[in-house]
Symmetry: C2
Subunit: 198 residues, 2 copies
Amino acid sequence: MGRISAPERRSALVEAALRVVSRRGIAQATTRAIVAEAGMSLASFHYAFESRDELIDELITTVVAREQHAVLPEPVPGGDLREILEAGLLRYFEHLRADPEHEQAMLELTQYALRSLERHPLAVAQYARYAELAAHSLEVAASHAGTTWDRPVEQVARVLVAFTDGLTLTWLVDRDDDAARAVAHAAADALSRMAEPR
Amino acid sequence: MGRISAPERRSALVEAALRVVSRRGIAQATTRAIVAEAGMSLASFHYAFESRDELIDELITTVVAREQHAVLPEPVPGGDLREILEAGLLRYFEHLRADPEHEQAMLELTQYALRSLERHPLAVAQYARYAELAAHSLEVAASHAGTTWDRPVEQVARVLVAFTDGLTLTWLVDRDDDAARAVAHAAADALSRMAEPR
DNA sequence: GTGCGACTGGGACGACCGTCCCACTTCGGT
DNA sequence: ACCGAAGTGGGACGGTCGTCCCAGTCGCAC
């Protein structure tokens, strides 16, 4: 292993940890497994991080900050709100199908954070970030459809996040593409009714 | 510890394991923690079960079989379909608020099962059971509202399960009651549109 | 080139894990 | 009363965990 500065090592370890958590789950993300994935020795781990907990915290923070697969990157032009929303949800679904392990890892990290008092805020921040991204997408969608939301967009965003989570969780279990698309359709339908009638 | 037959001990251990998983998470549900919760010695554990894995498998099976907090136990009389569905979802939400640890435990057990090939079927069975209960509730609801579903009820049920999961997950993170009720409202709205217009 | 601080590797530590062994006690059938 | 089977308790096993120590090596400023 060549010589790397401590900060570089930190991010290399975070990336390695994300790969291990995605592939094998957080329970299997031991210091030794992470270090092996990064191709380092155990001592390097505790040179860069004080503890495994610190690494996991930074992993969650990093990965949440990076999160940006918004549900609606570029809405379909010419469609009405419902169609734009459904296209966005289907886009998210394709992202989920392309990298299911990543979403499963995010889910596990949330649950992990939920289990300790000092880590709970990380989970809250994660979902606040989701809601923020969702709110932005919803604003873009409404603007493209030439309409406005009939309540604060943050409230609609919260519902979108819940629908997305449900779609993710159920699809991860049964891998039923058609069912997931039905969820996307129904969710888009419900959300579109939260806009002012044109 | 008095003398108990092996089968009784098995179910006592399963109950103890459920309490430990609910309270502290599956990662903390060690053989010693479970045995302490049940007030037994370690030897009794391996007298009743061959391994911890066997206990966890039986825990999942048991708890899934017992699952019956259907979303719509007794629909409100006189309401239309949307109102009946929303009342059912709110009923589920009250159940979630009353015992959040149990739903969190169920979520963790699902994720745990998803992580190994031989346990994956348990997660699938868990969600098949959810869908079954949801389908039954939906049939009751449609019948009370005097309408019928415009597609196989199993498909609607799958969507309901996804919505319920999303509501659960997001509420467990932010504990925002109003937001959860908004999800229930939107979900009921979307689902009610999957019925034949009267 | 020399010194010093930053970085590295291997091995060890105590704690806890799942599992197992074995001497012991209790029970039900005879 | 007795005897085999069923159930119990304590202690120990090997393995893995997170963490730590320390002797060694490298890069860079002087």
